[in-house]
């Protein structure tokens, strides 16, 4: 594959340890000019560490980094930038208090002196126009005023702006995680154009379809090692999943009779979005899994929060007749307590039940943690270690354990599978179905259309209101997308 093409960057036998954990275990890896590499693997497989090593934000413990054939002795972020290697990190690296143009200036020391504001604004505007036509972002918008999707667009566009440093390789870590299908399509099309012009790209994504469609070559990582490298055309979904080490087992979907039986059960949630003017409302019965679909940020989370409020206080238009628990999708800001152990993170929703008299019983807390460690498969030697010692997917499992281990009968899920590997997903899907059978009600907001097939009924949101309600048989990607974009009649 590489053949006569120029080698942009090459890693030989790179190792990296974090304490006892081997994040990278002798990785050989290279990128050639004019190719798009798809990098896949479960959370904790070493993708992020590899990427940070390439970007210069992490020093490799052992091994060699060579850029265009020259071995780099003291590789750093600044050196990487000089050599034309950039990275878009998964956690956003914009300053929220600065404008889009000022954030562009942060990445370009060359933009200074008289007229820097104009030059910076023009630079980012041109790139946004090129990648995301019709983006609706003004260079003087303050980043914190932008939606998360727009922030990601700015972040990506900024990585492709050029001043005095060259640009040969851009590493994109889950670049579409907060984008809707339309803008994600724009970005991937741009990546293809970028690669066609002789530059290179590394695309990291959990959406295997995205990788299969857009990468020239796919690199699969597992347990800190590269386990497969091959042309994208030689992979299909099954081969990728099996190489990554995910288990693919699925239960048969519920039959229509079962669904009808559940709809006859007691009503748990009745909610109408604030801006809904017609009579449409969301209803959920005992044992139902209800999907909330549509483009990201169109009122799904607001509705979940309204139900959350209703169960604790009471709100007009929203009824929830049982205790609720919420599984956050944005783990860092809505979910985890960074100073606490895994066990404490799981127990926090159920403190009242973990008491012995007035005091919280450590024994009961440990028992609950152990139960859920087994039940949901949290991979850790010790539930008393800090929550941050877990990989992202396992942190998410702990959040599921927090909600499912509580007394809540209504579980709200706020796009909880964001950036979670497929193995974790499949395990959690099974658990959700099992819990629903036990009588729990799930409201499940998701941006991944695949997940809607687990739902008994799906409500599609657009502009803060419900525009369509689809029953299980009717849920197809096409239909959801159609309803997401057009006004319901």
């Amino acid at each position: 594959m590489s053949g006569a093409r120029e080698n942009i960057v090459r890693l030989d036998g790179v190792e990296k340890h974090f304490g006892a954990v081997r994040a990278l275990d002798g990785v050989d890896f290279h990128v050639d000019a004019g190719e798009c590499i798809g990098l896949v693997g479960h959370n904790g497989a070493g993708k992020s560490t590899l990427m940070h090593t390439l970007a210069g934000t992490l020093e490799p413990g052992r091994g060699r980094i060579a850029v265009r054939g020259t071995v780099e002795e003291s590789y750093s972020v600044i050196r990487a930038k000089r050599l034309g290697i950039r990275c878009v990190f998964q956690e956003l690296s914009l300053c929220p208090n600065l404008s889009v143009a000022e954030n562009t200036r942060v990445n370009h020391p060359a933009i200074r002196g008289f007229g820097w504001r104009k030059r910076s604004a023009a630079l980012i505007k041109a790139k946004l126009d090129e990648i995301f036509p019709g983006h609706g972002i003004d260079p003087w918008d303050i980043v914190s005023d932008l939606s998360i999707g727009k922030r990601q667009m700015v972040e990506v566009a900024r990585a492709f702006t050029v001043t005095d440093d060259p640009l040969d390789l851009v590493i994109l870590d889950e670049p579409t995680s907060s984008l809707d299908a339309h803008t994600a399509g724009q970005l991937l099309a741009f990546v293809r154009r970028f690669v066609a012009s002789g530059k290179s790209c590394i695309l990291i994504s959990h959406l295997l379809g995205e990788i299969l469609e857009n990468a020239d070559r796919i690199v699969v990582m597992r347990d800190g090692k590269v386990v497969a490298t091959d042309a994208a055309s030689s992979f299909d979904r099954e081969r990728l999943v099996s190489t990554m080490g995910g288990a693919d087992h699925r239960e048969k979907p519920a039959t229509p009779a079962e669904i009808l039986a559940r709809q006859a059960g007691p009503l748990r949630v009745r909610a109408r979005p604030v801006r809904q003017s017609d009579g449409a409302e969301l209803k959920a019965h005992e044992g139902e899994i209800i999907g909330l679909a549509g483009l990201a940020g169109h009122g799904q989370t607001d509705l979940l929060l309204a139900v959350f409020d209703a169960a604790r206080g009471g709100k007009p238009d929203v009824e929830a007749s049982a205790p609720v628990a919420l599984v956050a999708g944005d783990r860092q800001t809505d979910g985890i307590f960074a100073q606490w152990s895994i066990a404490k993170n799981i127990g926090v929703r159920s403190l009242a039940r973990l008491r012995n008299g007035l005091l919280i019983s450590p024994r009961k807390e440990d028992e609950m943690a152990e139960t859920w460690k087994q039940k949901i498969g949290i991979r850790t030697p010790d539930m008393d270690s800090n929550i941050l010692s877990l990989s992202g997917g396992n942190q998410q499992k702990a959040l599921f354990a927090r909600a499912l281990g509580s007394d809540a009968k209504i579980i709200l899920m706020d796009d909880p599978m964001r950036g979670v590997d497929i193995g974790t997903k499949l395990e959690v899907y099974d658990l959700i179905r099992e819990e629903a059978k036990g009588g729990r009600t799930f409201l499940w907001y998701t941006t991944e259309t695949d997940e809607l097939e687990h739902c008994d009924r799906v409500y599609v949101f657009r502009g803060g209101v419900i525009v369509a309600s689809l029953n299980r048989g009717e849920v197809t990607e096409e239909k959801v997308i159609q309803s997401s974009f057009s006004e319901a009649s």
């Binding site: 959350f308 919420l326 809505d334 100073q339 606490w340 926090v348 929703r349």
Partner: protein, 315 residues
């Protein structure tokens, strides 16, 4: 060996080490004279710092920006309230103490009311409140010459084998505070809010209620401190609480509680309080001037916090 290392890696142990070093330095200077008496006096004075320190600790643990700046005014007012209600009669001690606690609780509750209703940072809310409380105290407490009831004054000074009874009671109180922090829903909730307020709310913690309780608790402890100070120093005074603004914050932080919130430590407050009190005693013993004393106190606080290292969480 590993146990010793674990012990020395806990941040609060250094405050006790520091207190011990300062005490050694002082008795070396005096040639071994008065070491025991100095400890007794230090314990008595440390009690006042510990009481407000515990309140301030719970507030600071609520997260960045949470701090109670109204403690000095609160303490001053409570001391006047306690003395007025007790009116020098032993039979009214309990009533006076209750009144001081109620005064403190009212201050704390109104602090939170301001924070909640005006959605302003606690620093500004408690600061504005302290202006008002201070004025009430001036208007109400001016020329107040009531001595504490003899029984109350004696109680604040009584000792068993050189250990003040008040210090013993305060040790019991701090044990209770440590249990509340680590083993009760209240403490867990405070710690959760301090780490991530939004996540705590989404995990079902009653954020508003817990914050209200915490500010009220801190105010109540300020009220208690005011009454005890008036007993110990034989009378109420508008400025009686002034030094507790800085020292309440200092003992919390030197004691190993994180200013970024979500991580608290009760035993460290004792170590830090003893350290600060003994430090002042030492400088007084050395007979240095006021300027040098302030200078050295400041440098030592900066030095201690630098040596103890930061555990400031990322914001």
């Amino acid at each position: 060996m590993t146990q010793a290392r674990a012990l020395f890696s806990t941040p609060w142990i250094w405050s006790f080490v520091g207190a011990f070093v300062v005490w050694l330095a002082t008795i070396t200077f005096t040639g071994g004279v008065g070491g025991g008496g100095m400890l007794t006096a230090a314990l008595s004075l440390a009690v006042f710092m510990v009481i407000v320190g515990v309140g301030q600790m719970f507030v600071i643990t609520l997260g960045p920006g949470n701090v109670d700046l109204s403690l000095p005014a609160n303490i001053g007012l409570a001391s006047a309230v306690a003395m007025t209600v007790m009116n020098g009669q032993d039979s009214r001690i309990a009533l006076g103490l209750l009144a001081a606690l109620a005064s403190g609780a009212a201050v704390g509750a109104s602090n939170y009311l301001l924070i909640w209703a005006l959605r302003i940072p606690p620093i500004i809310a408690t600061l504005s409140a302290s202006f008002i409380i201070h004025s009430i105290d001036i208007a109400f407490g001016r020329g107040l010459q009531i001595k504490p009831p003899p029984g109350f004054a004696d109680f604040t000074n009584v000792q068993f084998f050189g250990i003040p009874v008040m210090a013993m009671l305060t040790v019991l109180f701090t044990i209770g505070a440590a249990i509340a922090l680590n083993r009760m829903i209240y403490g867990r909730s405070v710690l959760a809010i301090g780490q991530n307020l939004r996540a705590a709310w989404l995990a079902g913690v009653s954020v508003g209620w817990i914050r209200f309780v915490t500010y009220t608790l801190c105010g109540t402890l300020g009220g208690l401190n005011g009454a005890l100070l008036a007993g110990y120093f034989r009378g109420a005074n508008v400025d009686i609480g002034n030094e507790y603004l800085l020292s309440s914050i200092a003992v919390v932080v030197i004691g190993g509680t994180s200013v970024a919130g979500g991580k608290a430590n009760v035993p460290g407050i004792w170590g830090a309080s003893l350290f600060l009190v003994l430090l002042l005693t030492m400088l007084n013993t050395f007979g240095v001037s006021a300027g040098v004393r302030l200078l050295l106190t400041g440098l030592i606080i900066v030095g201690v916090i630098t040596a103890a290292g930061g555990d400031k969480a990322l914001r």
